[in-house]
């Protein structure tokens, strides 16, 4: 199966571990992710104002690039890109006048966007197109004894129109970890916001959020927290130093992308995991569990 693929900005630098492991896992599962030739930043956050149609042009252009390839589906792994692309697409589909205005802004595009591309998150492809049974058959290194707290954050589950699962108690990541042979733990903070872009000028707030979220995971006996968003990953992992400075009883904990756990279980070598990009190293934990 071939799918058009939108990486987004952060997967090309800080979150290379997310991209490399995702592409490895997809390949192992028979999905060829074909990166769009000329993709641009999705805009990161969906514009919430009614009259801000100009801001919808960036995400919609990527859907036009997908159409140019003759494809009608666009897959992305980054939760924020997914949410922004999907909501812009929903808006274009729901309102003909808005779509016409967006197309007017894109006077340089040879073809108008017609609302005919579906935006998919990697986890939707995993669950709905590949299927958990097919994944189970391909697991060569089960995540035995690895206790994982699955963290969805905001953008995978809110609002309903862009959610890949139930907003208050999503299960898709837990189901995936189970199929990979790991042990998902009950996790009270799985959809609690990490503080998002406040990390730029108010890292002290992120320190509190990381303390609460990772503390809740630790209290359930989790070894690690699995995420799907490079901003959540940065806040929960790279802000652990600031967290420790503010909360002396904080216990550091490795944070990984769900795709890295998939890559391990599907037989990936350490090179696709890019563990050098983590702040709190997952290496000792994974080695201790016999997974590296």
């Amino acid at each position: 199966m071939k799918l058009s693929y939108f990486p987004g900005c952060t997967l090309k630098n800080h979150a290379r571990n997310f991209e490399d492991s995702t592409l490895y896992a997809m390949d192992k599962l028979g999905v060829e992710a074909v990166e769009l030739d000329r993709w641009n930043c999705c805009g990161t956050v969906y514009s919430l104002s009614t009259d801000d149609l100009m801001r919808q042009v960036a995400p919609i252009r990527n859907l036009l690039r997908t159409r140019e390839r003759g494809d009608s589906q666009l897959m992305t792994g980054c939760s924020m890109c997914f949410n922004t692309l999907k909501r812009a697409n929903n808006r274009a589909r729901a309102n003909e006048e808005d779509l016409a205005s967006m197309n007017d802004f894109m006077y340089d595009e040879p073809v108008d966007y017609a609302g005919d591309v579906d935006v998919l998150h990697v986890l939707e492809v995993v669950r709905d197109q590949i299927g958990f049974d097919a994944i189970r058959e391909r697991v060569v290194k089960p995540l035995e004894g690895l206790r994982v707290a699955c963290y969805y954050g905001c953008m995978l589950v809110r609002p309903n129109e862009a959610a890949i699962d139930n907003a208050e108690n999503p299960r898709v990541l837990e189901d995936l970890i189970t199929v990979l042979g790991g042990e998902p733990v009950d996790f009270s903070h799985k959809t609690e916001c990490c503080g998002a872009h406040q990390t730029v000028d108010k890292p002290e707030i992120i320190a509190d959020k990381t303390y609460d979220i990772l503390g809740a995971a630790k209290a359930q006996g989790a070894d690690t927290v699995a995420v799907s968003c490079p901003l959540c990953a940065f806040n929960l992992d790279h802000r652990q130093e600031a967290t420790l400075q503010k909360h002396s009883d904080f216990h550091t904990m490795p944070v990984v992308y769900f795709s890295q756990l998939m890559a391990i279980a599907l037989g990936g070598s350490e090179s696709v995991l890019r563990l050098d990009l983590h702040h709190t190293p997952p290496g000792p934990l994974l080695t201790g569990k016999g997974l590296l």
Binding site: H14, C41, R158, G195, D201, F234
Partner: protein
């Protein structure tokens, strides 16, 4: 906080502007407080979300636009999902930010971010904060 309600403020146009930008009906709110109860940022706000909505109903432009609270909301959408009246609180707060930003009153001075931070913080965070905090 003590505020003085007046017909002039209520009819000043601020309330209708906020509603128009958000495509929401502020008057649907009956102050149950669910938005503030679930808000991950409420603890840091000078005005919690349910009070922001009440002030907006009453046209309290100055109190809202000068607050820290409008900049602390990260649009995580928890309030929207839990509001029993279907009010999209996040959109209403975005409108208040937009009113400031459209008057070129940025909340973040990008040039003051240390170079080391620009390297360390991923683009997803930097672009997100620029989108939310600058015009």
């Amino acid at each position: 906080m003590t505020v003085f309600v007046s017909r002039d403020k209520i009819n000043s146009g601020f309330t209708s502007k906020v509603q128009r930008l958000a495509d929401q009906n502020l008057m649907a709110c009956y102050q149950c407080g669910k938005c503030s109860a679930g808000c991950p940022m409420a603890a840091y706000m000078d005005i919690p979300p349910n009070q922001m909505i009440r002030l907006a109903q009453l046209g309290m432009e100055e109190e809202l636009l000068d607050s820290e609270a409008i900049w602390l909301c990260v649009s995580c959408m928890t309030c929207n999902m839990r509001c029993p009246k279907g009010v999209r609180i996040a959109e209403l707060i975005e409108s208040m930010r937009q009113i400031k930003l459209r008057a070129r009153q940025d909340h973040l001075q990008v040039e003051t971010i240390p170079t080391a931070d620009l390297r360390a913080i991923p683009p997803i965070a930097l672009i997100g904060s620029m989108r939310k905090f600058t015009s």
